[in-house]
């Protein structure tokens, strides 16, 4: 079997007494689009931050193309980071930079490209996400939430990364804009052939963009399979989550009035 593009083995991470990741295993093949679903506080974001090196796992292994990331310094991780793209939940655009500078940031910050050249790339990438050159010189604060997400997506794909991560790409958007973002993600991924890992609790979005869905619960992957099989997963946790039922094995700590 070919080596997975991304491989997480036995990843654990705790915050004080709270054990968020408890031995998480997940393999993602090259060119595959995997969506990790799960409720709030189950460890989705922590998993993503561990892969990106924003958090250091307590134990376990995270490999990209077989290269170990855990325990590596920023400088050692940098060549790998250059092959990654990331769309943040709130887009995380830099307030102090104009839209085109945000999109071109990954190209100019490393000195890989001159500003004029990077500006041309930014125009192309913005066009790919359906934004015209009229937004180029706007500041992020002048854009709507949906436009910010699209600029964030343009920034994520600007360096033609091999792997793209999406953190709750449709959260906070209206259904139409959510669908537009999903379509853009599918298009971009198809065009670039990138491997993608998305975390979300939006099932419509998951069904649309995933080749394979994995469910995280209490810091472990409790089910993973092709998107077409999720309805017949045979897993009570998955069934409860995808149908949004109150009754089931997943108990939320909510005080009833």
């Amino acid at each position: 079997m070919a080596e997975p593009k991304i491989s997480l083995t036995g990843v654990t991470r705790s915050f004080g007494p709270k054990h968020v990741l408890r031995g998480l295993d997940l393999d993602i093949a090259a060119g595959e689009s995997v969506v990790v679903i799960g409720g709030s506080g189950t460890g989705k974001s922590v998993m993503l931050k561990c892969i990106l090196g924003l958090l250091e796992p307590d134990a376990g292994s995270i490999r990209i193309d077989g290269e170990e990331l855990v325990g590596r310094k920023f400088e050692e991780r940098e060549p790998i980071l250059r092959r990654l793209g990331m769309l943040f939940q709130g887009a995380a655009l830099f307030d102090s930079l104009r839209v085109w500078e945000n999109v071109a940031f990954g190209l100019t910050s490393t000195g890989a490209m001159k500003r004029a050249e990077a500006r041309e790339v930014a125009v192309e990438k913005l066009a790919e996400v359906g934004l015209g050159s009229d937004v180029m010189n706007l500041w992020p604060g002048e854009l709507s939430g949906g436009m910010q997400k699209r600029v964030g997506l343009a920034r994520a794909i600007a360096t033609d990364p091999e792997i793209i991560f999406f953190d709750e790409p449709t959260t906070g958007l209206d259904p139409i804009m959510s669908d537009i973002i999903d379509e853009l993600i599918v298009d971009c991924v198809k065009r670039s052939g990138a491997t993608t890992l998305t975390i979300t609790h939006d099932m419509a979005s998951a069904r649309k963009i995933a080749h394979r869905i994995a469910m995280i619960y209490e810091g472990r992957i409790i089910w993973a399979g092709p998107t077409s099989e999720i309805e017949e997963s045979g897993n009570a946790y998955v069934d409860q989550f995808i149908h949004g039922e109150v009754e089931g094995p997943i108990k939320l700590d909510i005080l009833k009035p």
Binding site: L52, F74, D95
Partner: protein, 260 residues
């Protein structure tokens, strides 16, 4: 559970040690990234403009009125034992050694540390700092190093200007209100002024510039909890920078004093 004073002391000591350790690591990282290439010259220039040029009015006004008040107060004091001629000398030494750097530092701390903490804190809570990392940009190099470099280089320049304006403030009051002859006031100003008076003030300014930038960056970088966290970081940055400036002022003065 009964209240245990030993437990409380233990908590406080541990929290203090943890904060000191975090700050030491942050400082080490900041200094390392400030002296090793690559350098973001555009960002360094922007910070120099922000810390240096835009602080000029507030530092200039502070120095002017400090020099004026100093001349008045020293005149009142020295008149009691017929030492009015010492006014010019004491004003220039007071301004260059002490009041220029300290008051300038405190004013810049209020203006700059808070702005840095608010900007970096907002970047932290909106995941912009995480975004920098994912775009293979070291946040220390991009955010902290330019501010530290600008702080250390701009504060001495600001203090030189503050010294000149402060001395001019004393001169104005001395010649216009206290009846000193302009020529003799200037002679008294420069006759007893030593290079070490100015140099010690400039060394203090560089140290204060470092503290101001470091506290702004540290509190911004470690802010948590949304808008409230950013507000707390801003307050902590100004308070800690101001206190550290006063502590560092004593230590630097002690070092220069020991050399005499």
């Amino acid at each position: 559970m009964p209240w245990n004073p030993l437990q409380l002391i233990g908590h406080v000591v541990l929290a203090f040690m943890a904060t000191t350790g975090r700050l030491a690591i942050f400082t080490g990282n900041g200094v390392r990234n400030s002296v090793l290439p690559p350098f973001y010259f555009r960002l360094i220039g922007r910070q120099m403009l922000f810390i240096g040029y835009y602080s000029l009015p507030v530092v200039g006004l502070t120095a002017l009125f400090t020099g004026m008040v100093l001349a008045l107060q020293i005149f009142i004091g020295s008149e009691r034992f017929n030492a009015e001629n010492a006014v010019a000398t004491i004003v220039v030494i007071g301004i260059t050694r002490e009041l220029g750097p300290v008051l300038g530092g405190l004013m810049v701390a209020g203006r700059v540390s808070s702005a840095m903490a608010a900007e970096i804190g907002t970047m932290r809570v909106t995941e912009q700092i995480d975004a920098l990392t994912t775009l293979s940009t070291n946040p220390f190099k991009y955010l902290v190093a330019p501010r530290l470099i600008a702080g250390v280089t701009m504060m001495p320049l600001l203090v030189i200007i503050a010294d000149i304006i402060g001395v001019y403030g004393g001169y104005l009051v001395g010649t216009q209100k206290l009846g000193f002859n302009a020529g003799s006031y200037l002679t008294n100003t420069f006759e007893f002024l030593e290079v070490i008076d100015v140099v010690s003030g400039l060394v203090k300014a560089a140290v204060f510039g470092f503290i101001i930038a470091l506290m702004g960056c540290y509190h911004g970088f470690n802010s948590t909890g949304g808008a409230q966290g950013v507000g707390r970081a801003t307050t902590n940055a100004v308070v800690s920078a101001s206190i550290l400036i006063l502590v560092a002022n004593y230590l630097v003065t002690e070092i220069f004093f020991a050399g005499r």
